[in-house]
Symmetry: C2
Subunit: 238 residues, 2 copies
């Protein structure tokens, strides 16, 4: 597959055209950003680990019947995906309370929720990704009722699958962010990435954070945490 | 009805006990506050107008079968209401886009929505009344699914009734905030007030703002706008 021109550079990835118009090449960057890119850093090896982790998790989800954009990993930092139009709604699923949820709503940290909480945020760096209602998304044409119903259904399945997957690795899936897109035929596909940049992972026995919170909160050993997730996946994961 | 001790002083009203434990006396203050009380003023006559307007609107809603806390107005600034436990969820209904909605979500001002938008905000001055999902309210025990279903149903009825009411006064009901409470028997009652402090009213022909936005935006003649609403109610309203 020949790499064409760069189509888009995001905070964590670059997207390139390929010789197949339906396929994009994603190159994972070493950039780390937090708090809507107010905090930034470069971390050698981060792009590689996220590409490895996300590829493996998307392969697992594909195998379990989740419709995703992922085609295949081609090397250490790059993967091929189906070209989609991204729906500008970020989907956050929470199993345990932490982060902005607790700050915004004044609720206790670390509460295990009786059922997963699914939240939608408008994908807009300019506006700081504000929380939205389904009704906002529908009224302002960011998505449709039918799409959101399907997105919610897929999201809850993905949550169940990933929770089980990480339980076997002695990792608690605290929360995570998903994005969805539509291919030219109108099929809804899970897109973007699933990695320690987009998930909160806690070690089951120690509670140690194994994700981007180490960067957000200056806890040190950020790359070590990402490496630890990848090591557990390769030693115990599917 | 003898006035007892003051139970609570809010930004716009004082609540007093009465000789009936199920009844409270509400005294409307002249204070105007905006932006979570960062902007404040006193305005002689404002309390009187809001008490007159809100009493008349609650009488109208009572007559139309909406369950409310309102009993009767007793003088220019005071009214009697049933004692309720307020549900800590503010219910905002929007017919036309404006205000925080446009700032938060980057949507155009003045769009007429194809159907009314109902939003919930956590009633918390400390947290700045953040937007919440129904699922937040349920998971964190601020309300229940059943209550929220009933609240939504009543809110949409109130919107329809008030829209019609104000259309006859050549006033457009742009948006408004409601609060609900539960009496000791568990009945859900529309509570708080309905006034130019809690609604956006636009004159139908000129588009002139006839509500607290005159104070928020320093448009001048705040009291005149409240007086105009009351004059139209007494000359043309039920």
């Amino acid at each position: 597959m020949k790499t064409g021109s760069m189509l888009y550079e995001g905070k964590a990835k670059k997207m390139y055209a390929t010789d197949d118009p339906a396929v994009l090449l994603v190159d994972y960057k070493n950039s780390l950003t937090a708090f809507n890119a107010q905090k930034k850093a470069e971390m050698e090896g981060k792009g590689r680990l996220n590409n490895l982790i996300s590829s493996r998790l998307f392969e697992y989800l594909n195998k379990k019947g989740i419709p995703t954009h992922f085609i295949e990993r081609i090397d250490e930092t790059r993967q091929l995906v189906k070209k989609v139009n991204i729906i500008p709604v970020e989907v956050v699923t929470r199993n345990i309370t932490t982060g902005t949820l607790c700050r915004r709503l004044g609720v206790e940290e670390g509460m295990i929720l009786p059922s997963p909480l699914v939240e939608y945020y408008l994908k807009s760096d300019e506006l700081g990704d504000p929380l939205i209602l389904e009704d906002h998304a529908i009224l302002f044409n960011w998505s449709t009722r039918e799409e959101l119903d399907k997105i919610r259904e897929i999201t809850l399945k993905v949550n169940q699958l990933l929770k089980e997957y990480f339980e076997k690795l002695d990792v608690i899936l605290v929360d995570f962010k998903l994005e969805f897109g539509k291919d030219p035929e109108g099929n809804l596909l899970l897109s973007d990435e699933i990695s320690p940049d987009t998930c909160r992972f806690w070690d089951r026995s120690s509670g140690e954070k194994l994700d981007k919170d180490r960067f957000r909160k200056d806890l040190g050993n950020v790359l070590g945490a990402y490496q630890e997730i990848w090591s557990r996946i390769t030693s115990k994961g599917e």
